[in-house]
């Protein structure tokens, strides 16, 4: 390139120099030659004429003419132009006979003309003119030409050369840039020169390589000049074959036997008979890709297909079923009893169970069937079948395989499964729909005594209702559609309102007033119970604080705590926040828990209860007698009162068994110094009996239905007025006198 650059520089300089020299020299030279020629012509003409005139004078007086100086001078002075001139007439001895001379600058151009007399030369006339003006104009033209030549030289040499230099500089920078890229490439780049091979084939001879080609692919400088068949033991020979008759880019994947390395070779012609091969060692990449693919499509724990791959396979199987007119069953497994094992024996035990379940299922399904784990304890089997009965057979067969005992950590455990089945095309035509419907059916199969269940449209409807209700609950919470009612709890001894139980209600814009039984289970199942319970607790505390501030007599506020809320939420922190925000005395707050709350995690439950107790909160057991009714937790937990379930109160006066249970509960409570509350008191007999048996407080329609805040405050006002009037009534049991307006 530099050699070419210098050659172009020399050629351009030479051309520009020649042209400049021509411009400098030729115009003045032409002018000079023409002017000289013209001057010569003029001198010759003038001289000839003047010589003839002089000759006439000579002939007129051949002997004496030399003395006629004045006349000769006059003749010599006869000029046809104003141009300065010198005319001198010499005799043959060279003596000046006559002269007519203007002032002239040297140098002079002179011509001699003979003067004849009768055929004999008698004198010489020398006519001279100055070359100075011609030379001055020539010099001026030379200067102008030199200026033009300088400009021309600049334009012809400097400008093109500068452009060429810029082009070369750009080219060099570009080459350096690409050279740096070339040398810093992680991929190996080997350049080959094509040479004619045997017959019509072409051979590739290694011309250059980048450092990566040397370091990564083992090319050596010694390989330069070798045929591609000789380089690297002929590893890249297929490139040569692929390029025969293929002018475009070719891409090959080559495997180096023994080393286990995989290369991708992209070969492409570069023009000028060169071929570049871009080498990339994709061994690791392929390995990673395979791993990634495995991770992407397989469950890492069991090695079964994951959801994504399952959907792909289902798509594929649906295609087959569609073409062959078959049905396809999607069996959705959910393990029963897995969660307690996972919770009690740890995740490792749970993982072992899952692996074993996967293994057993895998050994049970046909090769053409698809088995996948969706996550958690959910498995799916997809199988093509002729009739739905086959699906039942498959489900039963799989359940049989799963039922045998599992040994985990030296212990034997049993794991069952519920299976929901959806069938293509009856229950859906897309993998997503079939999976969803199988899932719905699986929930139905969770019912006791049911092991597997086929999907039906009703299931979906219920699910949709459930989903809609869940949405509405969330919206209700957001729109503050929930409100509280308060059911008074009467002191059996004094007949006064000792406490009120806060009961949550929902005023739905669409459904109107909705009772808790309709939405609390779903709220618990969906977790809405957590924010809802928080709202109830804080609202109840706020109201109590307002009532007390308004002058009401102190009374306790009883709030129901869902088992879910007790276990999942930070109940203690919540209670502290409520006390702090509302300023209510926590001694007036009662939390009612169900028995099932207490038995799930004994240690955690005890810790929470003792914490609450430390806050001076009263803790009661709601619906006592219907659950575990464990005397152990009555002993170990800081329980303040028991609330006898309304089921026992309803027939307490009529059925001896019921009465015995109530008596026993009251007896135990008294023995353990626990406060006893009876709910669901609807008649005077029930009230009198319970009071008589020592029940401390009574709650029920006999006294008050759940009241709105305004109504409760009215009741409280009336009660206060009544007691203020009859404050001397003493401590007599007045169970029957209190209810004035049972609602």
């Amino acid at each position: 390139m530099i050699r070419h650059s210098q050659s172009i520089r020399r050629s351009t300089t030479l051309t520009a120099g020649i042209l400049s020299a021509v411009l400098t020299v030729v115009p003045p030279a032409i002018y000079f030659v023409m002017a000289f020629s013209h001057m010569t012509g003029v001198i010759e003409t003038e001289g000839e004429i003047n010589a003839r005139v002089v000759g006439t004078l000579v002939v007129a007086n051949p002997r004496m003419w030399e003395f006629e100086e004045l006349r000769l001078n006059e003749l010599l002075a006869r000029r046809s132009t104003e141009t300065a001139e010198k005319r001198v007439l010499y005799n043959l001895k060279g003596q000046v006979i006559a002269e007519s001379s203007d002032k002239m600058l040297p140098p002079l151009l002179s011509k001699t003309f003979p003067v004849h007399d009768a055929g004999h030369q008698v004198a010489n006339l020398v006519v001279s003119r100055s070359l100075a003006p011609t030379l001055m104009v020539t010099a001026l033209l030379f200067c102008l030409g030199a200026l033009a030549a300088g400009f021309t030289f600049f334009r012809l040499r400097t400008v093109p050369l500068r452009a060429i230099e810029n082009a070369y500089r750009s080219l060099k920078q570009s080459e350096e840039k690409y050279r740096s890229v070339y040398e810093s490439l992680n991929e190996g780049l080997a350049l080959y020169r094509t040479v004619p091979g045997s017959g019509t084939d072409i051979d590739l001879v290694l011309a250059d390589m980048n450092p990566a080609a040397s370091s990564v692919f083992g090319f050596g400088r010694d390989d330069i000049g070798k045929s591609i068949l000789q380089v690297q033991g002929g590893l890249f020979a297929p490139v040569r074959e692929a390029l025969q008759g293929a002018p475009a880019e070719v891409s090959l994947e080559l495997t180096q036997e023994g080393a286990g390395r995989v290369f991708v070779v992209n070969a492409f012609p570069m023009g000028d008979g060169m071929v570049a091969t871009l080498l990339e060692d994709v061994t690791e990449k392929k390995r990673s890709a395979e791993q990634l693919e495995h991770l992407a499509y397989y469950d890492s724990l069991t090695g079964l297909l994951n959801r994504r791959m399952l959907l792909d396979r289902m798509e594929h199987t649906i295609g087959i079923a569609q073409r062959e007119g078959l049905k396809m069953a999607t069996l959705f497994f959910d393990l029963n009893g897995f969660k307690p094992i996972n919770d009690t024996m740890g995740h490792e035990a749970g993982d072992q169970i899952l692996i074993e379940v996967g293994r057993r299922l895998k050994s049970s399904v046909r090769k053409k069937d698809t088995l996948a784990r969706l996550g958690g304890d959910e498995f799916v089997v997809v199988a093509t079948l002729d009739t739905e009965d086959n699906a039942s057979c498959i489900a039963q067969n799989l359940l049989r395989k799963l039922s045998p005992v599992y040994e985990v950590g030296g212990r034997e455990v049993y794991v069952g499964a519920s299976i929901g089945i959806s069938v293509y095309p009856d229950d859906g035509t897309t993998p997503e729909t079939l999976l969803k419907n199988a899932d719905i059916a699986m929930y139905n199969a969770k019912k006791p005594g049911v092991e597997f269940c086929f999907y039906s449209a009703q299931m979906n409807q219920k699910l949709q209702e459930r989903t809609r209700l869940e949405f509405e609950l969330w919206m209700a919470l957001e729109r503050e559609e929930f409100f509280l009612e308060y059911q008074p709890i009467m002191d059996a001894r004094t007949g006064r309102i000792a406490a009120v139980e806060a009961l949550v209600r929902w005023m739905s814009p669409e459904k109107g007033r909705v009772m808790p039984d309709s939405f609390i289970p779903l709220a618990e199942a969906t977790g809405i119970i957590i924010p809802l319970g928080e709202w109830v607790l804080k609202t109840a505390c706020t109201k109590l604080r307002q009532w007390l501030d308004a002058g009401c007599l102190p009374l306790r506020m009883s709030v129901n705590i869902s088992g879910c809320q007790f276990m999942r939420s930070e109940l203690c922190r919540l209670v502290e926040e409520a006390a702090e925000q509302t300023g209510v005395d926590l001694a007036l707050l009662e939390l009612e828990l169900t028995e099932t709350c207490l038995v799930k995690d004994v240690e955690e439950t005890a810790a929470k209860l003792w914490h609450l107790k430390g806050l001076n909160v009263s803790i009661g057991i709601d619906d006592f007698g219907t659950g575990y009714s464990s005397l152990q937790y009555l002993k170990n937990f800081p329980i303040d009162h028991l609330k006898i379930d309304r089921a026992f109160i309803r027939n307490v006066c009529e059925l001896p068994d019921e009465r015995a249970i109530v008596d026993a509960i009251i007896g135990i409570a008294k023995a353990m110094e626990l406060h006893v509350i009876a709910e669901g008191v609807e008649t005077l007999d029930q009230a009198e009996y319970l009071a008589h048996r020592g029940c401390d407080e009574l709650q029920g329609y006999y006294y008050h239905r759940p009241l709105s805040e305004e109504r409760l405050l009215e009741v409280l006002r009336q009660e206060r007025e009544r007691f203020e009037q009859g404050s001397g009534a003493g401590d007599a049991v007045i169970v029957g006198a209190v209810p004035t307006q049972p609602v």
């Binding site: 004496m64 006629e68 006349r71 001078n73």
Partner: protein, 276 residues
Amino acid sequence: MASFVKAVLAVAAVLATLVSPPTASAAETLRINGTGSGLVVIKPLAEAFQKENRGIVIEMEKSLGSSAAIKAVSHHALDLAVSGRALKPAESAEGLIQQEWGKTPLAVLANRGVRSKDVTLKELAAMYAGSTPKWPGGELVRVVLRPNEDTDTKLARSMSPEMDRGLSAAQGRKDMLLGITDNEAYDFVKKTEGAVALMALTLALAEPNSVNVLKLDGVQPSVASVSSGKYRFVKEMHLVTRKDAPAAVAKFVKFLNSKKGRSIAARHGLHVTGVK
């Protein structure tokens, strides 16, 4: 002192030559040339002289002009030069001697076709200047010039400032007729319609009726008007010879100043004034 002696001896020699009688046996050749206006007077005088002096042959070539003739005398190519001007110091230094011979009117000569008889100096200057392009008779004025260094030109310039300016203007014009010699100029006047020139009257008298001699400012140019002083513009004639000139020269010069010589000269337009 030595130079003075030399000069006296030289003059004595010349005078001796002039006064010595001619001898028949001495066939001397006397070569005479000079201004054309002088030679036309010399010619009849030479003929008369040769009749009286058979041993002397006078040769007269075509007129060389005053300067050439003086140079020729200096180079011994002539024996006597008739000059229309006095010697220059350089010429005198070459040993030449001169004597005044006479005066002839510098007359206005016009072509015979010109009907005018009279012209004023002012009109003549206007013609030379080109401001009067035609004669009163309608002919175009064609001025015949002489070389700038010629005696006649110098005399014409000295006639008046207007003439000097007129001549300068005429010299600058390209269409002027230029007569190098007296005879050539005279031929132009003679042959060219409307031509006019200032020339010696001797030329016109040498060829009677060949040209129209005009009065100048009302004065007819003639020997009489010159001798009387009425005609102011004259051309002097000088005789130039060497100190060692042959005796025939002196003899001829003596003849020129003789009564006969004066008479012949007067008839041909030259008023001989003699040696001064």
